[in-house]
Symmetry: C2
Subunit: 293 residues, 2 copies
């Protein structure tokens, strides 16, 4: 699979809008902002949820959401996915009768980014999962990945206020999805992997968002043994990562990073001194978008 098989398309006119305003000097400016639109998800005729999304991959988002919520099993046969752009709906149909109604009853709102509704038995499979103990992460890969991801054209660089998730292998970013919530971005990758038959073996997951319990649970459910973020940790995220044996790396910026779980998978083959601090060219955060405003 080649680098950036899927990547953001900042030129897609549907995903951002130019709006007028003023800057700190009172001068008129125009800037790009990301668009969020509703998408109502149905599973076999039952309304599940309305999500706010940039709307670029409704089919992958729908399937990934259902998989990550355990509403769809890996062996469920999907008979149709009908997306209606005008009605803002996506309907996933399966051969097996699904048991989502019970799942919908108990919901926990998590602390990650919205749609962070984790239904009651999301944890039911978590405890059974064995992540690949042989997987490794070379620090040279980590540095190459963060450099490539930060400099790839993206809605983030064009408009800010958006999260990115990237499925990687060794030093290659493969699938780079963005969305207003990082939960949507990770769900779109889960849906892509399922529908396109991409195995989890040997994969590494990168997110721009915080390492909350929800991100850890979803990464583990996707059977990916390594999760990297440029943002920080929450205590529950660390606890769950340790329980599952997930390698959890946060605050990855420039030469720096911290691993708080699964450190044994890390191979320190790069010299951090040769990497240096994060330069302005690869710095995420609204600075770039501001300059573009």
């Amino acid at each position: 699979m080649k680098e950036f098989t899927v990547c953001p398309d900042p030129d897609d006119a549907r995903l951002t809008r130019r709006v007028a305003g003023v800057d700190q000097e009172g001068r008129s400016i125009e800037t790009a902002v990301v668009v969020e639109r509703p998408l109502t998800l149905f599973l076999n005729g039952q309304e599940i949820v309305t999500m706010m999304t940039i709307g670029d991959h409704p089919r992958y988002l729908a399937v990934g959401y259902l998989l990550n919520q355990n509403m769809l099993r890996a062996d469920d046969e999907i008979t149709a996915i009908d997306h209606d752009d005008e009605l803002e709906t996506v309907v996933v149909r399966t051969k097996r009768k699904t048991d989502f109604e019970k799942k919908l009853r108990k919901k926990t709102l998590t602390s990650g980014c919205a749609q962070g509704t984790v239904f009651g038995d999301l944890m039911e499979k978590f405890e059974e999962i064995r992540l690949d103990p042989e997987a490794i992460l070379k620090t040279s890969w980590l540095y190459a990945l963060t450099r490539k991801i930060n400099t790839a054209p993206s809605l983030y660089l064009a408009a800010g206020a958006i999260h990115g998730c990237v499925l990687c292998e060794e030093d290659r970013p493969l699938l780079y999805m963005e969305d207003v919530g990082r939960h949507n971005a990770i769900d779109k990758i889960a849906g892509y992997m399922h529908l396109e038959g991409i195995p989890a073996a040997g994969k590494i997951f990168y997110t721009t968002g915080r390492l909350t319990s929800e991100m850890v649970i979803k990464t583990v459910q996707m059977r990916i043994p390594i999760l990297i973020s440029r943002s920080g940790f929450t205590a529950w995220g660390v606890d769950l990562a340790r329980q599952a044996g997930l390698t959890l790396i946060g605050r990855a910026k420039g030469k720096r990073f911290i691993a708080l779980s699964g450190e044994r998978r890390i191979v320190f083959d790069a010299d951090p001194a040769a990497i240096g601090e994060e330069g302005a060219h690869s710095r995420r955060k609204a600075s770039v978008a501001e300059d573009a405003a």
Copy 2:
């Protein structure tokens, strides 16, 4: 009301935990991470939701959540608020019989930070609200506020991975609340204002998080006419702000900011050139927490 009447308490041992890990050199380190704990909210015996929160102000969070979801009306008489630390529950009791069941039926998961569940009729009051047209924001206030907020001791500076919301008046930060989700931080401020009788008149709201539709809706519901963030915008957030006549300022860092709605309230009394770029001393984002690791 004096500056920082409420402010973060990074020394509260319940709110962070020290965890061990390794850094980029493979050296053992110890770092602080924020704790998230469940809190299940009941309204008059009916379970509403389980929230993930740092848990520092359960009573304010409970009342603010219910107010911002329109499950509690401003004139509802609260007869009791029972918080049970061990059971991780908070029960709000009112004189009037509440009609939340209908509200619970239709839910939209928004793109902001989790608990971003916006119930169906959250918008029902939005369109009726008239924000104070006479309110102003001097840019000298804005610069003073961001400087004071960024340098105040906080869980953010101690552990990262947390959002902050601040209720301000002129150049004074009054209530500074943090939480794993910015929706919790804003709800805690709404609850404090309601229970302690703090009027919205003359207030300015500051958030570290993105200016999503949810943040705009809640600010407007709280009758606060000015919303400032160091983060970026979403298109729907801008649309709603314009509809409500909310002054919406984003990407406020150092001397820079952009206003995309309600620009007429801004009084440009400061010289941005005298402010300069954001210095390392006041830079938010995990850099400081990293250095502390």
